[in-house]
């Protein structure tokens, strides 16, 4: 089904339980014609043909389309990434109840509509993408999701990516910012073990800090490891469950909305 991630072979990506055909990427199929042009224009020898084409160019092209569309409508799109069980959905549930202004959520999981149902219970719009055996969201899946949601101008669109600290780091969705959520139950050295994910983060949210008194988690070491792979990203410590630290997160979100809307 998915031509980018081999692990989704044999499975079908679904959007709210319906088959997600990659129709939007097919819309761009005319652009393949350019590579035929290259066959003639960049020949370097009798039989050698220069291509110099990005391997992920198809995904990146759709991601650029998404980003242009967000900019045009003054929409802020945030890609939430983490391992499974870090508390992304709970963070979103609490956030949606407190954040003012229009919001919607694109949920990504291998299976079930559980997360979209939890989000809808807060009153927010949500669409569930099931990737089958696929291990990450791709730009065309977000494209299909936002067409389904039709977010109004000025919205915050949250994307809850498939829980995985490896593959989603490689795929641009067209988001404005990447938020990596790390929970203190996972161990302080995750930023060093999965450096590509943390290196590309704009914000790292350290979740479940209410559990710190019960754990051997070395907070200062963890903050140092994040700084080591990503010296400039912001780090917020919070507990979505107790509400501790949530205010700073909400303020960060509010600050992102006008800033990005203005840059459009």
């Amino acid at each position: 089904m998915c031509t980018v991630c081999g692990c989704s072979e044999g499975a079908e990506t679904q959007l709210d339980g319906k088959s997600l055909k990659h129709t939007h990427s097919h819309d761009h199929s005319h652009e393949h014609g350019h590579s035929h042009d290259h066959l003639h224009s960049h020949e370097t020898g009798d039989k050698t043909v220069a291509l110099e084409q990005a391997i992920l160019s198809k995904n990146d092209r759709i991601a650029s389309d998404n980003r242009r569309w967000f900019d045009k409508l003054g929409i802020v799109c945030l890609n939430l990434l983490s391992s499974p069980g870090s508390g992304k959905t709970t963070l979103l549930e609490k956030t949606l109840k407190q954040l003012s202004g229009p919001c919607c959520v694109v949920e990504g999981d291998q299976a079930t509509e559980n997360d979209a149902q939890r989000i809808r219970a807060t009153g927010a719009l949500a669409v569930q993408i099931n990737t089958g055996t696929g291990c990450h969201l791709e730009a065309d899946m977000l494209h299909a999701g936002i067409h389904e949601l039709e977010p109004e101008p000025g919205s915050v669109v949250f994307v809850e990516n498939v829980g995985n600290l490896v593959c989603p780091a490689l795929f641009d969705l067209g988001e404005n910012k990447r938020v990596v959520v790390l929970s203190v139950t996972e161990g302080e050295d995750k930023p060093l073990k999965y450096p590509h994910m943390f290196h590309k983060a704009d914000l790292v949210v350290l979740n479940k800090v209410d559990l710190l008194p019960h754990l051997d988690f070395d907070l200062q070491a963890c903050l140092g490891y994040v700084r080591e792979v990503n010296p400039n990203c912001r780090i917020l410590q919070l507990s979505a469950k107790t509400g501790e630290g949530m205010q700073a997160w909400l303020e960060w979100l509010e600050a992102e909305r006008p800033e990005l809307a203005v840059s459009a």
Binding site: G6, S35, V49, L51, I55, V166, H199, R227, E228, N230
Partner: protein, 109 residues
């Protein structure tokens, strides 16, 4: 194991460019920071090319070493990670080379 999907993208790009011409060799550039394993690409290539114009083609992987530039003192240096510390102490580094994921060229039969 995103290398299987990466390989499918390589095959798709080359097959589009080659049309009906059989391909003898495919050359790709893989940067050291790209989180893609060259050995895994070789492993996937044979099965992904079966029944295409790339069948029996040779996959040539050009490994691009990672290189960072310090935004504070301007020095450039080799690195195996896209982050690190410059000899001047700065962590304010930008990638000069190593994030490549490119189909470089193909050779037709």
């Amino acid at each position: 194991m995103h290398e299987l999907g990466i390989t499918r993208n390589i095959v798709s790009i080359v097959a589009d460019a080659a049309g009906s011409n059989p391909v003898a060799r495919v050359s790709v550039k893989i940067g050291e920071f790209s989180a893609v394993l060259p050995d895994a690409l070789h492993f996937c290539f044979d099965s992904c090319t079966r029944g295409t114009v790339l069948e029996n083609a040779r996959l040539e992987i050009i490994n691009v070493p990672g290189r960072l530039a310090c935004s504070d003192c301007g020095i450039e240096f080799g690195s195996s990670t896209p982050f690190g510390r410059c000899q001047c102490g700065s962590r304010n580094l930008r990638c000069v080379a190593g994030d490549e994921l490119l189909v470089h060229e193909m050779e037709l039969q």
